[in-house]
């Protein structure tokens, strides 16, 4: 019965190599399908300070709103649906709810409302749903997906009434919600903001300058100079400010920079945190492409985008869960010749990324 303690929960890593100039490049779809992004980290080697167009790009991420104690039936409010949901591009995610413990909600830009509910809430709510794909022995988590743009969910319709009755009289689900409307901003969300307590938040930008940092030598995207697992481990160590020296007197970390390596004299690490929409991420990628054009001497640029670990959905509307950690992220490695390497990674309770 002794389990192998060296085995860790399974993870999936998908690596792709392509070019921005290639017509078949799927990067745009892959970026846009991860709706709820929590953190964007950029690593600029051989860079002392970012040029002004990049600074402007970092600061131009859209602001978002936190509405406290919003009853969920308000997401079906007629004015909200007409002003925001039917126009598209509304992102909504429940805040301070854990995907493996509590009820979570996600409103996607295509008008799909996804409710990830525990057994009691699902049984009391009485809506059609499926058991979660990541249930273990007994089903204890259920997923209800509603298409708010469907004709059956139009206000006054039977489907709409059923959901409304469930959320108003059977289970009065209420949670803090993060909402973002791109590119409309707060105007389209007025019907909700005017009636509940809300705060407008802007994504937090933080910068770190590192000197004499050992970096792996990544020649171009064609040559396999560095194994993706060890590169991602090194990148994560730099982002988390973990030393890669592996000195014999320290027992804290035995992570090392993968060979072959060079020492970069200046490295700039920027991170942006908040409810970040994919359109802003795509714009940042285009700005980083402009940055890499000559006369820039940087050999490569790394951009990592993390999804919310407690989001009920991952790429597209695939279900997301958390066993140990609900990680789902992608790292884009950009080179000066318009080529890139994309690594998409998920954890144990996720299916394969696109």
């Amino acid at each position: 019965m002794w389990t192998d303690l060296t085995r860790t929960p399974r993870t999936l890593l998908v690596c792709e190599r392509s070019s921005f100039l290639d017509e078949k490049s799927r990067l745009r779809e892959q970026v846009e399908q991860l709706h709820f992004n929590y953190k964007v980290s950029v690593l600029l080697p051989e860079c002392d300070s970012a040029p002004s167009h990049l600074e402007a790009a970092f600061k131009s991420f859209s602001s978002f709103y936190l509405i406290k104690k919003l009853p969920l039936f308000e997401l079906l409010d007629k004015n909200f649906l007409e002003a925001a949901v039917y126009q598209g591009n509304v992102y909504g995610l429940s805040y301070r709810t854990r995907i493996d413990e509590d009820n979570c909600v996600a409103l996607m830009p295509n008008g799909q409302l996804c409710l990830s509910l525990d057994k009691d809430s699902f049984e009391m709510l009485g809506l059609e749903g499926k058991p979660s794909r990541f249930n273990h022995r007994a089903a204890s988590r259920y997923v209800v997906s509603l298409d708010l743009t469907d004709s059956r969910m139009a206000p006054g319709g039977r489907g709409y009434q059923r959901v409304l009755t469930g959320l108003t009289s059977r289970v009065q689900l209420q949670m803090d919600i993060l909402l973002s409307h791109h590119p409309g901003g707060g105007a389209a969300l007025q019907s909700l903001l005017s009636r509940y307590s809300w705060t407008e938040l802007t994504p937090e930008v933080s910068k770190r300058r590192l000197t004499q940092l050992p970096c792996p030598t990544l020649l171009t995207s064609d040559l396999q100079s560095c194994d993706p697992h060890s590169f991602l481990e090194w990148l994560g160590a730099v982002d988390a400010d973990v030393s890669c020296e592996n000195s014999s007197s320290s027992f804290l970390s035995s992570l090392v920079c993968p060979e072959p390596m060079t020492t970069a004299s200046h490295v700039l690490s920027i991170s942006i945190c908040g409810l970040l929409v994919p359109q802003d991420v795509h714009r940042l990628i285009q700005e980083l492409r402009c940055y890499l054009e000559p006369p820039c001497k940087a050999p490569w640029v790394a951009l990592t985008v993390h999804g919310f670990s407690d989001s009920p959905v991952t790429w597209g509307s695939r279900e997301h869960g958390a066993l140990r950690g609900g990680e789902h992220f992608y790292t884009l490695l950009l080179f000066p010749d318009h080529t890139y390497r994309l690594h998409l990674a998920t954890g144990a309770h996720d299916n394969c990324p696109p």
Binding site: W2, T3, R96, E101, D102, D118, H136, R137, S140, L323
Partner: protein, 246 residues
């Protein structure tokens, strides 16, 4: 999965110690805890079973669970130490919710499949406590040995892990307890269930023992308004009877 629960915080005389214990549990991410009143009936004389004190007398304001916006839920639990019973009788006949596996000594018997399966069928769970393992190295060996011996019979089903902590430093976070479950031979998902879904089953099982299999229960309501007047038009049988509510 359900919320994380720790169903055994040992009650001590020190009120501020208890308050610190509940605060630490909320900070670590537990949404529900149970204060454990341990009662060992003495051999000769009859002693009264302790009755639980209402939680608002022990703690003024319940702390908010870390990362959420609602306070921790505190329940009460009674543990009776039986000195003169067999393992078989406890599993098959006793009307209990939890059977605690002792960690203070190496168990003299092995868990047999039959009574363990009988207990599992009835909805009774087995509990392993880990705070003794934190206090003492010998206890650590006994805890792991007894837990592995239990695991061989019950195969990871109907098992809960709790702290039995007397001091706040003996509490550990839910994901750390999941790791401890791996040492006992549980799989990742089983270990996580041991502190969430199985604990929820225990609470529901306890509810069914109070009620008619959890389907019907009565509760008193406080009637604010006046009784209907005696010359009301409705026939006597149809007038509402305010003192009964199904």
């Amino acid at each position: 999965m359900s919320v994380f629960m720790d169903l055994s915080l040992i009650l001590t005389e020190d009120r501020s110690g208890l308050r610190l214990l509940v605060d630490t549990a909320a900070h670590l991410g537990f949404s529900t805890v149970a204060i454990n009143y341990v009662f060992e009936p003495p051999a000769k004389k009859k002693q009264e079973i302790p009755s639980p004190k209402p939680i608002h007398e022990l703690i003024d304001q319940l702390p908010i669970v870390q990362g959420r916006s609602w306070p921790i839920r505190v329940l009460n639990r009674l543990t009776v130490v039986m000195s003169d019973s067999t393992h078989f009788a406890a599993c098959m006949t006793y009307d209990v919710d939890i059977i605690c596996v002792p960690v203070t000594e190496k168990l003299p018997f092995f868990f047999k499949r039959a009574p363990v399966n009988g207990a599992v069928d009835r909805g009774v769970v087995f509990e392993v406590s880990y705070s003794a393992a934190i206090r003492d190295t010998t206890m650590r060996r006994y805890t792991i040995a007894n837990a592995i011996s239990l695991m061989e019979s019950c195969k990871g089903k109907n098992l809960i892990m709790s702290s039995a902590a007397e001091k706040h430093l003996e509490l550990r976070g839910p994901y750390d307890i999941t790791n401890l479950g791996l040492l006992f031979g549980l799989s990742e998902e089983d270990a996580k269930e041991a502190i969430s879904s199985t604990c929820r089953s225990v609470l529901l099982h306890a509810d069914t023992r109070k009620t008619a299999s959890g389907i019907v229960y009565t509760m008193k309501t406080r009637q604010q308004g006046a009784l209907p007047p005696p010359d009301c038009e409705a026939p006597a049988a149809k007038r509402p009877k305010p003192h009964l509510t199904a």
